[in-house]
């Protein structure tokens, strides 16, 4: 470890410890109800106002992984990585109205998870189970990726040991995280998110003003990026990318942005953030203001080109022995900033990993508790039992995520995240469309979900990554239309235009759900009782007669 790295480590540790203390004390912050009720632990008492929700959702959606991986994507493939910008531009306007409906109906019926809503809407614990499992499975690799982001920072600081114990600093960070999440529930990440945002804003603003000045301005930075990306790759002989989109990846760019935007609020942790807010007005204000983070993300994404211009090299991961492109932003900071400020930047990324990891584990724990434990294991669980169960589940989820990181190549966790996005998108008909219409039959939704999942997985399995030797499966989320096969029929034979797999699988999902709905309705299959009513979706206050326990009386 060099002298500069010692300074970085000290600054990092000071900020990290301060945040941990904040996390533990958060349980006392604005506490109103019974601390052992799931509404308190898992949704912060449903009391967060506009500012807290803004920081919470900002910390939830713009994660450390985003801050590390998006610039890394521009660094290695160019313009395609900028998809994160249109993705976050369109997401909030698109989801504003559906989220208001979800908030109202959840408030009236006491729903804690999206699967709770599906259960009430379709009178089907089985469909709710499918939605809950999808959410948990999609969230696990997402938590693992936060750890990958945190570890990228730790390895840059010099804590780059080899083998199993090379992960030890990560274990320590995670035990601290697990302890304060257990103690304080959703209040901990809500409070810490404020610190994280301040740090991130300072770091990005400094980086975006200071680095271009140092490197001769944006013009030369983009020229350096274009020159490097145009060089043929040693493995494929093709250019690795371009600072503009090609004829083949424009559709991929648009569908990836659209699919990611639609998936964003299907992730259970986003729903947790929304349901913890205190009013519809809070959500409206936040959906208006959250795109401000997109500015940050856009500037940050460009750091990928800055890293090229600064001739930054990714750090070799001590555990896998391979260059880890996720270290490109930390390495850029370490190389260009004074060491104390690099320490601040690393703390910002590290804390940026802890906030979403905490919210995600809480969301997964809520799903387990409400839609599996209470539904299938202990039907008479009291709110107190639920809270205890959720706390334990949050620990299990985190341990699972750590095992992901230890057991597999970080590259594989990126693949899993890719799969997670594709599968969570398959809950769109049962959750988002159901907010507007109950036209789809519940078993048809289940059939569409299953087809979307399986088809999506088959397509992903068949996509190779030619740039990585020996990688013939799960090589990316871009499907060449010419390879699209419907039972052996290739509707776009020969086309090299690429499209995002998630959108393809979603179309399959919707078609199957529609056809099966018509068949079931022709056969007069029972549709179950809808426990929600039209005006529930616009409720601004909770009628006394349907206060929170409504779902258990269903």
């Amino acid at each position: 470890m060099t002298g500069a790295q010692v300074v970085q480590l000290v600054v990092f540790l000071v900020l990290f410890v301060a945040v941990a203390v904040l996390g533990f004390t958060a349980s006392r912050w604005r506490r109103a109800g019974d601390p052992d009720h799931l509404d308190e632990w898992g949704l912060g008492g449903r009391s967060f106002g506009s500012w807290v929700t803004w920081f919470l959702l900002g910390g939830d959606l713009y994660t450390a992984y985003t801050f590390v991986a998006i610039p890394a994507l521009l660094f290695s493939s160019g313009a395609l990585g900028f998809y994160a910008v249109p993705y976050t531009i369109i997401a909030f306007p698109l989801v504003l109205l559906p989220l208001l409906r979800l908030w109202s109906v959840s408030r009236v019926h006491g729903y804690v998870t999206p699967a709770d809503f599906v259960r009430g809407r379709y009178d089907s614990p089985l469909l709710a189970l499918a939605i809950a499992l999808t959410g948990i499975v999609a969230t696990m690799p997402y938590i693992a990726l936060q750890l990958a982001g945190l570890e990228a920072v730790l390895r840059t600081i010099g804590l780059n040991g080899s083998g199993f114990w090379g992960h030890a600093p990560l274990f320590v960070a995670f035990i601290v995280l697990a302890a304060y999440t257990y103690q304080s529930g959703l209040r901990a990440p809500a409070l810490i998110a404020v610190v994280k945002d301040v740090l991130i804003y300072v770091v990005i603003l400094v980086a975006i003003i200071y680095l271009p000045l140092k490197l001769g301005g944006w013009g030369p930075i983009f020229d350096a990026g274009a020159a490097k990306l145009a060089k043929p790759s040693p493995t494929t002989g093709q250019p690795t990318g371009s600072t503009l989109l090609s004829a083949n990846n424009q559709l991929q760019y648009a569908t990836l942005a659209l699919g990611s935007a639609l998936a964003l609020f299907l992730y259970p942790h986003s729903v947790t953030g929304v349901l913890s807010s205190s009013s519809r007005a809070t959500i409206r204000r936040n959906m208006t203001a959250l795109p401000a983070y997109s500015f940050l993300l856009a500037l940050l994404a460009l750091l990928g080109y800055v890293a090229i211009a600064a001739n930054t090299k990714p750090i070799v991961n001590g555990s896998t022995g391979k260059a880890d492109s996720n270290t490109i932003v930390p390495a850029l900071f370490a190389g260009q900033f004074p060491s104390w400020f690099a320490g601040v930047a690393f703390a910002a990324i590290g804390i940026g990993a802890l906030v979403p990891a905490a919210i995600m584990s809480i969301a997964a724990a809520n799903l387990w508790t409400r839609n599996i434990y209470k539904e299938f294991i202990r039907r008479d669980a009291t709110p107190r039992d639920e809270a205890r169960q959720a706390k334990l589940a949050s620990l299990v989820v985190k341990i699972g995520a750590v095992l992901f990181i230890v057991g597999i190549d970080p590259q594989f966790s990126v693949d899993l995240q890719l799969i997670g996005g594709v599968i969570v998108l398959q809950t769109l008909p049962a959750v988002a469309i159901a907010l507007y219409t109950r036209w789809f039959h519940r078993w048809a939704l289940l059939a569409g979900w299953a087809v979307g999942l399986i088809w999506g997985m088959i397509i992903l399995y068949g996509i190779p990554n030619p740039a990585v030797a020996g990688k013939s499966h799960f090589g990316g989320s871009a499907l060449a239309l010419g390879k699209l096969s419907l039972f052996g029929w290739h509707p776009f034979g020969g086309s090299t235009v690429q499209i995002y797999v998630g959108v393809v699988a979603l179309i399959g999902n919707l078609v199957v759900a529609a056809v099966v709905t018509l068949l079931l309705r022709a056969g007069r299959t029972p549709e179950g009782v809808d426990h929600t009513r039209g005006d529930d979706y616009h409720a601004t206050t909770v009628p006394e007669s349907t206060a929170p326990e409504a779902v258990s009386s269903v």
Partner: protein, 94 residues
């Protein structure tokens, strides 16, 4: 809709809605033209519009600064919808 739906449970806060809406399974949905403003940011998905280097702004190619310029546009559209529909929404008259 053919789904068998029971009569809504008695609820003093909802009598007026229940009277005008016997089919409780269908959520009250009212179309508002102003809400279409929320679709304006989708312009950032039409890649042929901006997939070019020139004109640059402060050295940044058009592809990048155009999309960054759509961010405030999206905020303005969402803000407009928020302000215009806020009153009706908070009174719960939708």
């Amino acid at each position: 809709m053919s789904s068998p739906s029971p009569a809504p449970p008695p609820d003093p806060t909802a009598t007026s809605v229940a009277a005008t809406e016997p089919e409780a399974a269908a959520p009250a949905f009212r179309f508002r033209a102003w809400n279409l403003l929320l679709l304006v940011p989708l312009i950032s998905l039409i890649t042929p519009l901006f997939n070019m280097t020139e004109p640059r702004l402060a050295g940044i190619p058009f592809f990048y600064w155009f999309q960054m310029a759509v961010i405030p546009l999206g905020i303005l559209c969402t803000l407009a919808v928020h302000l215009i529909t806020r009153r009706a929404d908070e009174e719960g008259t939708r």
